[in-house]
């Protein structure tokens, strides 16, 4: 259990009669930077909130650092840093008071590191949190999360609402901090570039399901996009397993498929294609293919 600071077992969450998380299984190994991707409303934040014990699961269980999320002790919580979506800080507190509160409650507080961060950010200490810009709130939240030297860092869409410059500054600082210390990180975002720069393992969520869970390089290697030309109209009934997306337009078929192998190639050959060209895919292309609404059902039975 210690080798996996984050464990999710058959997690199901219903919210007001709607299934928000549908049978999620996930294990994040120690030292891994895990990028959790998904479109808005796919369940990323609910998964993270359930992991932290902020949401009770309907079924299944989640564990952080070997302890059940619903029964996390103060000592276990002290080893976790959390940057919430929208930077959920106490809005009517002044910056100084909020820092004081966090410092007093922390079991371990790296004052030297925190001071260094505050010097970089130059936050106005006497201003109320609600009067700070989104970028300042993000910086403060990150500084508070990092000051406890967390063993496990959970960042829930930390760049949401930031403009391009603030987002880039925030990410560069985050990358710098992350790379300096060996820790497990769960990083959720819907901005592909952010995740691609940081993560070494990727999870893609679609409609409450984790449809992809593998290393970033493996994902890029396993998912192929093929442009196939047929002499006449492209066949609609191409019986190949693990098709992520298929688009037919006249003689042309664009096929996104996982685990392309000689067997699948042989099946394709039986349809007599004129040409078959592999198209280069970025993480963004893979993400878009995987999260197309019509493909969710196709991918469900063939987790990448």
């Amino acid at each position: 259990m210690d080798d996996h600071p984050i464990v999710v077992e058959n997690l199901v969450k219903y919210y007001e009669g709607r299934c928000v998380l549908n049978g999620i299984d996930l294990e994040v190994p120690r030292g891994c930077i895990y990028g959790l991707l998904g479109r808005n409303g796919c369940g990323k934040t609910t998964l993270i909130r359930t992991l932290l014990g902020l949401e009770p699961p309907t079924r299944g269980r989640t564990m952080l650092l070997g302890a059940d999320s619903r029964r996390l002790s103060a000592r276990a919580r002290a080893r976790i840093g959390y940057v919430a979506e929208g930077h959920n800080l106490i809005q009517n507190y002044r910056v100084r008071r909020l820092i004081g509160l966090c410092r007093d409650l922390a079991l371990h507080w790296n004052e030297a590191f925190f001071s260094q961060l505050m010097e970089t950010f130059r936050l106005p200490m006497d201003r109320k949190i609600k009067e700070l810009s989104a970028g300042m709130r993000a910086e403060l939240n990150l500084a508070l999360a990092m000051a406890v030297d967390p063993e496990l860092l959970i960042l829930d869409d930390p760049t949401l609402g930031l403009d391009t410059v603030a987002r880039r500054q925030f990410l560069e600082l985050a990358i710098d901090l992350i790379q300096k210390q060996d820790r497990t990180i769960l990083f959720s975002s819907h901005i592909l570039g952010d995740v691609e720069r940081i993560a070494d393992r990727i999870g893609i969520m679609v409609a409450g399901k984790l449809i992809v869970d593998c290393e970033l390089e493996e994902l890029k290697r396993r998912v192929r996009k093929l442009q196939i030309l047929f002499p006449s109209e492209a066949p609609k009934d191409l019986y190949i397993t693990e098709i992520i997306h298929q688009r037919n337009a006249g003689r042309e078929m664009v096929l996104t498929v996982a685990d392309w192998n000689p067997q699948k190639q042989a099946i394709l050959e039986t349809f007599g294609p004129q040409s078959c060209t592999e198209l280069a895919m970025t993480l963004e292309d893979i993400f878009i293919e995987c999260t197309r609404p019509a493909t969710a059902a196709v991918v469900e039975g063939s987790e990448v």
Binding site: R49, L52, G53, L54, E55, P56, L72, S73, A74, R75, R77, A78, I80, Y82, A84, N88, L89, I90, Q91, N92, L101, C102, D104, L105, A106, L107, V148
Partner: protein, 213 residues
């Protein structure tokens, strides 16, 4: 203990108006007790004005219920517990510190008058002809009444999402002092109030421990 102290301090600072009001009211009650004892001339006139008593009761009952509502309602609106539980703090610690703040407000309110009453009715003081032994019973009853009103406040504050229905419990809370008027300060009313308080606190804890933050 440092966590509890920090959380308690946070509760006091966030609701300082209630604690200041408790302190002022406590001072007024103490002054009133001293004034009665000093100016008592042995006649049969009423020791306390009925109107003043009712006004003080409403202020105490409403204020303590309001404190409970304010603590829980502010938590819901500002996501305070959601923030705190991301720190090395458990829901149980937040809840205990919150209740401790409520008990502290009640003690601030009742302790000075209780001490004053005990001293004014002391064995070596010639004063108001009241049986000394009644003081602990009266203040125990008043403490439980205050705690019951506070408990209703935190129960309502966490159970209702909007403020209007939450404030709707205030008239209900006014019924609590009637129990003391009808049953007196004896062990019966103390037992009823204690059960009522436990039920309110247990109900609030169950919801607080299991709900989304």
């Amino acid at each position: 203990m440092r966590t509890y102290w920090t959380l308690l301090k946070r509760e006091i600072i966030d609701h300082v108006a209630y604690f200041a009001a408790a302190l002022i009211l406590s001072g007024l009650l103490t002054a009133m007790l001293v004034s009665i004892a000093v100016s008592f001339d042995g006649s049969d006139r009423e020791l306390f004005g009925i109107a003043g008593g009712i006004a003080a009761t409403i202020a105490v009952v409403g204020g303590l219920c309001g404190l409970g509502v304010a603590q829980m309602y502010a938590d819901r609106v500002r996501n305070i517990s959601a923030f705190l539980t991301a720190l090395p703090v458990t829901r149980a610690q937040i809840f205990i510190a919150r209740i401790a703040a409520g008990v502290l407000a009640i003690l601030i309110l009742l302790l000075p008058p209780a001490v004053a009453a005990t001293m004014l009715l002391g064995p070596n003081v010639d004063g108001v002809p009241v049986y000394r032994g009644v003081v602990p019973d009266v203040f125990r009853g008043l403490f439980l009444m205050c705690l019951a009103c506070y408990s209703v406040g935190i129960y309502a504050g966490w159970h209702r999402r909007s403020l209007a229905p939450t404030l709707g419990v205030l008239p209900v809370v006014l019924l609590v002092p009637l129990l003391l008027v009808i049953k007196g300060f004896g062990p019966d009313s103390a037992a009823i109030l204690a059960i009522f308080i436990l039920a309110c606190l247990a109900g609030t804890w169950c919801r607080f421990a299991s709900s989304s933050l």
